[in-house]
């Protein structure tokens, strides 16, 4: 007994290694190694192809991407009276941002920065300047996308799941239909919707025109910086909501029917049943759905690449699109890696915060 036991163990030691090795090696080489390489490249000047050896450059890639500053522009004053000089239309004259950020030896930190946005503060203008304005816009757009998509898509998915969870004949047909866009490539969906959103012959404009009896003025949905990102959000939700509907549905079906029967006997309203039976029973599902949507939303890329290329005027730039622009299109592996590292830190932080907050709220 003793002998056969140790022989069995020995046998399983080498066989175990052998069986687990291929998958482990592939995940190690193609996920873990590039992940660690990314952290390394982010602190170098690595390019895709370069005659010069790679050098360690410290945090300069991160400074290049993330440096921010605030400049105060004071109106030009009359040297003698200190009165603000005004031009013919009564507007005060301000020095240009360029005059402060170009070859200005007094403020070397600001050298090369460009205006991101500004506001009036008394007589002065405050200008936020950034070393990489496009990347700043990409960060803001990505956060906007996540902050709007996560609750909206999660909520709509729950609504659909509750509609599908009714006991009606033929209900599975609707489940099948709602889930259908999930199996269609986001690339295909993006192209199709590019046509639907088109300003000239777009289907959406035609439909809105029909329901408003022609009073609706056609909009170039993707060509307008105010509507481009919301349009991409709406389409992304349309494509993915079925996925999360199915996850909610499997959560809903774990809630015992007896709880609803008890609530009926107590005379609970529909809302009370949702508030005190359904929602508490979906706690784990809610966390999962939120985390999954957030993770997916942060990696927004295909829709941008197919529909807008980041435009118009950077209104749809995103973090991953910038990573690909630098790392692939410009062959600047170092900056692309630095962006990936920034994204990873954001994603990990958010999902930890989200897990923490969701737990607090639901218990």
């Amino acid at each position: 007994m003793q002998i056969s036991g140790s022989k069995k163990l020995q046998n399983s030691e080498s066989t175990g290694w052998l069986m687990a090795f291929p998958a482990t090696a592939i995940i190690g080489l193609f996920i873990i190694v590039p992940f660690l390489l990314g952290f390394y490249f982010a602190f170098t000047n690595q390019r895709f192809i370069s005659p010069n050896p790679t050098e360690y450059v410290g945090t300069s890639n991160f400074h290049q991407l993330l440096d921010l500053g605030v400049l105060t522009l004071e109106p030009e004053r009359d040297a003698a009276t200190q009165e603000i000089k005004k031009d013919a239309s009564g507007a005060a004259a301000y020095p240009t941002v360029r005059s402060l950020t170009r070859n200005n030896s007094e403020m070397p930190y600001y050298d090369g920065m460009r205006e991101w946005f500004s506001w009036h503060s008394g007589d002065n203008i405050k200008v936020v300047v950034a070393r990489d304005v496009v990347f700043m816009k990409a960060i803001v757009n990505t956060f906007l996308f996540v902050l709007i998509t996560a609750p909206l898509q999660g909520g709509l998915a729950l609504l659909l799941a509750m509609m599908i969870n009714q006991k009606l004949p033929g209900i599975n047909i609707f489940r099948t239909i709602y889930f259908m866009p999930v199996v269609v490539s986001i690339v295909v969906v993006s192209l199709l919707w590019r046509f639907i959103y088109s300003g000239d012959n777009g289907l959406l404009n035609a439909i809105l025109g029909f329901f408003t009896f022609g009073t609706f003025k056609p909009v170039d949905w993707l060509g307008n910086s105010a509507t481009a990102l919301p349009s991409i959000i709406a389409m992304s939700i349309w494509q993915a909501v079925g996925f999360h509907m199915v996850i909610w549905l499997s959560g809903l079906q774990t809630i015992p029917v007896s709880l609803y029967e008890a609530a009926d006997i107590e005379g609970a309203t529909g809302w009370q049943k949702f508030r005190f039976v359904t929602w508490p029973g979906l706690r784990n599902t809610a966390i999962l759905v939120l985390v999954v949507i957030t993770m997916q939303a942060f990696t927004l890329f295909s829709q941008i690449a197919v529909m807008t290329q980041g435009g118009p005027v950077d209104a749809t730039q995103t973090i991953v699109f910038q990573a690909v622009q630098h790392g692939y299109a410009k062959q600047d592996i170092a900056t692309g890696s630095a962006i990936s590292v920034i994204l990873f830190i954001i994603v990990i932080t958010i999902s930890l915060i989200q897990r923490y907050l969701t737990r607090e709220k639901l218990t």
């Binding site: 066989t15 998958a23 996920i31 269609v184 690339v187 295909v188 035609a206 890329f301």
Partner: protein, 290 residues
């Protein structure tokens, strides 16, 4: 009387919101298929009316012929099917056998390695794509031309990095954990080797999880975009999603675009409609276990 009508009516009205939502999900795809049958000119003018959703006017397969004439569509389809099928088969084998080892066999470092592998679930491809691009450009390969370096523009660069993944390993591990251990012990007593137990005892029981892993992998691979975009500059190795670029010259021929989109989407939709229970169950199972 009023009670009998009110008890009948609501059940029928309950379908109304369901149907309205269904229209929102169906109409863009239906529009795509209808448009693929119309000349570009008619397609553009039809969007002003309900004709957009109907097979009316001059209906033909001309757009499909034109799409094949414009781009090597057959090649792209072959590439996609070949890459997807090979990756799915490899991933099912490698991930199931490693999960088998992680769950049933005893070996040093097993739990540590499994933990590290499962941690990679939080690393999406978008985060590693840029450094991975540089890495694959340095890797050696032994092929028809002997030893070469750099995997760009090849099939292997689209297959091997995805031939094992944490999600598939995770799905198999979860499933195997719930199988009765007595099965293994009985087979060991009869003198079966671990390899025999894997393919004669365990895998025949693993139908549901294999279907789940296969469907998830199939969708991920066939619909992949970012990675093939970065690694296939050569037409010869491009999959269907990258082949789309051929239809965006100066004047976009929307009829041909719709034909191409229909061509690469409808097979997946049919596949889904036939196996819809398995598709939906596969997503649901990631939810329950996750």
């Amino acid at each position: 009387m009023s009670t009998s009508t009110s008890s009948l009516r609501p059940s029928r009205w309950r379908y109304l919101p369901l149907v309205l939502v269904a229209i929102v999900f169906i109409f863009p795809l239906e529009f795509m298929i209808m448009s693929s049958l119309k000349p570009s000119q008619q397609l553009l003018s039809d969007t002003n009316s309900f004709r957009a959703f109907l097979p009316v006017g001059s209906i033909s397969l001309d757009n499909y012929y034109a799409a094949f004439a414009r781009a090597p569509v057959g090649l792209f389809l072959f590439n996609s099917v070949f890459i997807t099928a090979t990756t799915v088969v490899l991933a099912l084998f490698l991930c199931s056998i490693s999960a088998f080892s992680f769950v049933f066999l005893q070996w040093r470092g097993r739990d540590t390695i499994l933990t590290i592998l499962l941690t990679t679930l939080v690393i999406p491809i978008e985060i590693i794509a840029v450094p991975l691009l540089l890495l694959v450009n340095q890797l050696p390969w032994v092929g028809l031309h002997g030893l070469t370096f750099g995997w760009l523009n090849s099939y292997q660069v689209q297959i091997i990095p995805f031939s094992a993944d944490a999600l598939s390993v995770f799905l198999f591990v979860q499933y195997f954990k719930d199988l009765p251990k007595e099965l293994i012990e009985a087979a060991r007593i009869e003198g079966a080797s671990w390899w025999q137990i894997y393919y004669k005892v365990i895998m025949p029981l693993a139908g549901p999880v294999t279907a789940t892993a296969a469907i998830l992998k199939f969708l991920a691979m066939y619909n992949q975009f970012l990675w093939p975009l970065m690694v296939t500059q050569a037409e010869q190795y491009r999959p269907v999603m990258i082949g789309l670029q051929y239809f965006f010259q100066l004047n976009i021929a929307w009829g041909e675009v719709m034909a191409y989109l229909t061509l690469i989407t409808v097979p997946v939709l049919i596949f889904y409609l036939v196996l819809q229970r398995a598709f939906i169950a596969s997503i649901a199972s990631t939810g329950i276990k996750g």
